[in-house]
């Protein structure tokens, strides 16, 4: 049905939610097939060991067991190892990474064998009795220890320091020696476990006689996965279909080509039966990629009155025991935002990637940019403390001046647009900043047990991954474009195929809004298909806040193509020249005679019946566009966190959280708010609760949700949100992306607030997460220092 309502900008309820809320989602574990068998991996209880012998006989004799296979049994199944697609330097050292490890276990998730059985329980029982003889080796988890190479994970590489990437610097580096104020700080950011609400899982099946296979996987990248699994298993891409059904979140942890996916496909081929694998939460904690795990040495050069002259960061980044799909590229992604929203004259960033006996790291919501923003914003606070100035004042005087056209930044890339001060001022106004400072002073004066702290974080992020030419220059092996197809069915329905792969973000709704406005129809008449390589041929999937700025723009361009063809048909039917038509109120109308009109549903039906199309016009009203962005998008904003810290126990309560973000044009403000809420909750988790902890043997002690502290709704405060809108110049929609902003901005706002609450006691650092014990210790140490 044709309509003239404006949908972009409206907080439309999400059309994808009804089946999810009714328990009718298509998640992998909801799917079953005749003849299906279950796969279970054998992960021996070692963190670092040589595998001397594997006895599978007891397991093979267990009820229901169909096969027990080791790497040796599957030698021919994998022509290639698991892919890593971002060799960021020419001399990067590349560890081999097989789906089953051959002779050495290097981390707790390394599997040495697979068991296949008729039921999941039988597979689990049998996996327990696969006997692995192993010789334990010394382990190394600490980054500086690992860099000494006393314990080397991959002997063929000769070192754990597998990659060194340097931005190369910009501006006069001598300020780091000669500036009037030099602030040097070291910040450690522990590993985080992504914790998508649905773990990983997959179901592989095929027609072996035809050599055709399908993998249903809880993945965020069906298109990239098809390429990667084809390389790993040798199944030609033309015979390999990958389906991402409903996927219960990912946060980057399903942006990968995993051993289990390759194994399930190989076993479906080997056993000629459908093979299913569902990860349990304990496995998820060791076998699914982790995030963060970095150590920064930071230098800020400035003046006594608060001008930032230079920012310099030297980082050690924990790669884990192998490279997963993007592992070494993650720190580099942050390498372009270490200037924050400021305008320093000098810039330096470099990092070394270090192998350790822990789960491989990879993208985790924000991927490199939260790590960068955390140290930048902590460092600015340290600078303000050093020179005795208000951190808000220091930030405001250093904000980059506004610009509406793409502008070169000190770090070497063009930033699409930016106007940082309005968001900054609005955030401070909403937080009632000066009043809060007065309350803080009063509490300090009275010596209250509970002290108030105010933390700021101003950020810029690089999203909309990515211009293919820049990816190429950065040695990434794929492109950054995306695609959309619009098919106008007769009688008014429109089918959209998007190359993005939403897994909770709400694209079905947002895409419907864009198409509805563009084609003058109702969003209810737009069906958005995604996540199946046989349905959407072209695509680069969903990660890096790219979907709307790349995939959404491809869709906007496809809309234009549909309208172009529709116009030709409309002119023919209305017997006027195309120039005599105008698009208004959701239809092509004859100028001056608005009642003479054709809507897109009318024209789609004409194009489908094809009874009387103009000469040379092909039947069917369709449009396809592939969009390669000319630049990244650069959202920005300012967050303010106000906390109350109990100085006797060290416990922090968040009193208020204010966020003002600029993600360019907004398609659906409700979805944007939801992304910000979730991102901030995850950032608060990072700031106050979550960290992966290991014992001296290298075992993960935070091995379940009992010990790994994901906060609940009870710990997360109500958030006060607002936005400024500086349209991006990178795409026609003006959008910048919002999936990661909350996670990028919030950790330093919260930790800065905690430090601020107790800084009058002499505390300058508490660490992350700012647990009650860390805060308590920092206070004890500061008091001890006074004595």
């Amino acid at each position: 049905m044709a309509t003239t309502e404006q949908y972009v900008g409206q907080p439309m309820l999400r059309k994808e939610d009804a089946p999810l809320l009714a328990g009718q989602g298509t998640f992998v574990d909801n799917q079953t097939m005749a003849g299906m068998v279950w796969m279970e991996l054998v992960r021996p209880p070692y963190v670092h060991a040589t595998v001397d012998a594997i006895d599978t006989s007891a397991a093979a004799a267990m009820p229901g067991v169909i096969a027990v296979l080791t790497a040796a049994d599957l030698e021919d199944a994998f022509p290639g190892g698991l892919p890593m697609v971002w060799p960021i330097t020419e001399d990067i050292k590349l560890p081999t990474h097989w789906p089953l490890t051959k002779d050495r276990v290097r981390f707790a998730g390394d599997a040495v064998a697979v068991v296949v059985a008729e039921t999941r329980a039988q597979a689990a029982d049998a996996a327990e009795v696969v006997m692995v003889e192993a010789t334990e080796l010394p382990i190394v988890l600490d980054l500086e220890e690992a860099a000494k190479d006393e314990v080397v994970l991959h002997e063929d590489l000769g070192t754990n320091v597998v990659v060194h990437w340097s931005h190369g610097g910009a501006g006069d580096q001598s300020v780091f020696e000669s500036a009037p104020v030099i602030v040097q700080e070291r910040y450690e950011q522990p590993r985080l476990i992504p914790n998508a609400i649905e773990g990983r899982g997959c179901l592989a099946y095929g027609i072996p006689a035809a050599g055709e296979y399908t993998l249903i996987s809880a993945t965020q990248i069906p298109h990239i996965l098809r390429v990667g699994l084809s390389l790993a298993t040798g199944i030609p891409q033309a015979k390999l279909r990958v389906i991402a059904p409903d996927v219960g979140g990912a946060f980057g942890s399903k942006l990968n080509v995993y051993a289990e996916e390759a194994l399930a496909l190989a076993l479906a081929r080997h056993l000629r039966r459908p093979v299913k694998w569902i990860e349990d939460r304990g496995e998820n904690y060791v076998a699914t990629t982790h995030g963060r795990g970095v150590l920064h040495d930071c230098t800020l050069a400035g003046t006594e009155d608060g001008k930032i002259l230079g920012m310099k960061f030297v980082e050690l980044a924990d790669m884990g025991a192998y490279f997963q799909l993007l592992t070494p590229g993650i720190p580099e992604l942050g390498g372009w935002v270490y200037m924050g929203p400021y305008a320093p004259d000098a810039y330096w960033y470099e990092f070394r990637g270090i192998m350790t006996n822990a789960t491989p790291t990879d993208a985790y919501r924000g991927a490199g940019r939260p790590e960068a923003t955390y140290v930048v914003e902590r460092l600015v606070d340290a600078f303000a403390r050093r020179i005795g100035k208000d951190p808000a004042e220091v930030r405001r005087m250093n904000l980059h001046p506004p610009f509406t056209e793409a502008t070169a930044s000190i770090m070497g890339l063009q930033v699409d647009s930016g106007d940082y001060e309005p968001a900054f001022d609005r955030a401070l106004e909403m937080a009632d900043y000066s009043q809060m400072r007065k309350e803080q002073a009063a509490r300090r004066e009275s010596g209250d047990v509970k002290q108030i702290g105010i933390g700021l974080s101003s950020y810029i992020e690089m999203c909309g991954l990515a211009p293919s030419n820049i990816l190429g220059a950065l040695r990434y092996v794929a492109g950054g474009w995306d695609a959309a197809e619009i098919e106008c069915r007769p009688f008014g329905q429109i089918v959209v195929r998007t190359g993005t792969s939403p897994h909770g973000q709400g694209q079905e709704t947002a895409w419907s809004q864009i198409v509805a406005d563009g084609l003058g129809v109702s969003p209810d008449d737009v069906e958005v298909l995604h996540g199946d390589t046989s349905v959407t041929r072209l695509g680069m999937d969903t990660y890096g806040s790219r979907s709307v700025s790349v995939g959404g723009e491809a869709l906007r361009r496809a809309v234009e193509k549909v309208k172009e063809k529709a116009r030709t048909i409309a002119a023919h039917e209305l017997e006027v020249a195309e120039d005599d038509l105008e698009w208004s109120d959701g239809a092509y109308r004859v100028k001056g005679v608005p009642d003479k009109a054709r809507t897109i549903p009318d024209l789609a039906t004409s194009a489908w019946t094809a009874h009387a199309l103009p000469e040379g016009v092909e039947p069917a009203l369709e449009g396809t566009a592939v969009f390669d962005p000319p630049n990244f998008t650069w959202p920005a904003g300012t967050h303010v966190c106000i906390v109350e810290v109990d100085t006797e126990t060290g416990k922090t309560d968040i009193l208020r959280y204010v966020a003002v973000d600029d993600c360019g044009t907004v398609i659906n403000p409700m979805i944007v708010d939801g992304q910000v809420h979730g991102g901030i909750a995850q950032g608060i988790a990072e700031a106050l609760y979550e960290e992966a902890l290991y014992d001296e043997h290298g075992n993960l002690t935070t091995s379940s949700m009992t010990q790994y502290l994901i906060p609940s709704a009870m710990e997360i405060p109500r958030m006060e949100l607002d936005r400024t809108e500086t349209p991006s110049t990178t795409n026609g929609l003006g959008v910048k992306g919002i999936g990661e902003a909350g996670t990028i901005a919030s950790p330093p706002a919260v930790v800065n607030a905690v430090v601020d609450a107790v800084s009058h006691l002499g505390v300058t650092e508490v660490g992350k997460p700012a647990s009650p014990e860390r805060v308590w210790r920092a206070i004890q140490d500061a008091r001890g220092g006074d004595a």
């Binding site: 349990d280 939460r281 304990g282 126990t649 902890l693 010990q707 502290l709 009870m714 710990e715 009650p772």
Partner: protein
């Protein structure tokens, strides 16, 4: 996440349950299942048989019992928290029950299960220690009562024999002054440290959560109070005789200092 194989028996009565415990090797009682089942799913606990007593509704009650309250062992935490009799006679018990886990846990977990599990990090055991509660157990040779002080013997160990079923918890009237301070990182967590304080005869009885292998009484604090010390002075002795764990939530050293702060605050609240 898949438990090791086990047999399952549903008990129709307490006698049934006792009979199953006597006749089967390595049998465990299943009540609300909120401690046992997670341990089984991790294959940390591998009982050969589960004896399910979850449907013995005659063990779910709260009723006045002389100058106290008797609570059936299978009473769910939610029902304990909502009990008017307890709120009137012994309000620390429903308050603490409301602090356990989250609503889903409280609607399935039982007071008896929480006690019989013997977890020093559980909220209810230290509260019952502070109250000098009495536990009623039934076994093949009949019924007996066990004092709270004698009940918790070691980590996850109690005075219950392998063939005994905990049937009732009796608490005295204690409505004059009380406090339960649960310190945790997240609302649904076990206590990093918990302190139960109940006013009595000018002093107070103080129970400690997660400060050792069992729930403990802060005897040093109680002695100091009996000797006339004020709460702040008495609280300094809160870690006497404790052996707190070090774990992902906090170190033993931190817990030793934290308990002093919490005991002081709990006493100030209970004795105000």
């Amino acid at each position: 996440m898949i438990p090791a194989p086990f047999d399952y028996v549903r008990a129709g009565s307490v006698e049934d349950a006792i009979e199953a415990l006597v006749s089967r090797e390595d049998a465990k009682l299943l009540a609300g299942g909120h401690s046992l089942l997670p341990a089984m799913r991790l294959r940390v606990a591998r009982p050969a048989t589960l004896v399910d007593i979850g449907r013995l509704s005659d063990l779910s009650y709260v009723r006045a019992d002389g100058d106290g309250v008797a609570i059936g062992a299978l009473t769910r935490h939610h029902d304990v928290a909502a009990s008017e009799a307890l709120q009137e006679m012994c309000p620390i018990v429903p308050y603490a029950a409301g602090q356990i886990g989250d609503p889903q846990v409280r609607h399935l977990g039982t007071i008896g299960g929480s006690v019989a599990h013997g977890d020093p990090a559980g909220d209810m055991p230290s509260v019952l220690m502070a109250l000098d509660a009495t536990f009623v157990a039934r076994g093949p040779s009949g019924e007996r009562t066990i004092a709270a002080d004698a009940f918790f013997t070691s980590l996850f160990q109690t005075a219950l024999a392998p063939d005994e079923v905990l049937t009732e918890i009796r608490v005295p009237r204690a409505a004059d002054g009380w406090a339960y301070l649960k310190f945790n990182r997240r609302a649904q967590d076990w206590a990093l440290v918990g302190v139960a304080a109940v006013r009595s005869n000018g002093g107070a009885r103080v129970g400690l959560t997660n400060m050792g292998l069992t729930p403990l009484r802060a005897t040093g604090v109680e002695d100091a109070l009996n000797g006339g010390a004020d709460p702040a002075t008495a609280a300094v002795r809160a870690d006497e005789g404790t052996a707190p764990p070090s774990d992902a939530f906090g170190s033993a050293e931190y817990r030793r200092e934290l308990v002093k702060v919490l005991v002081r605050r709990a006493l100030e609240e209970a004795m105000a």
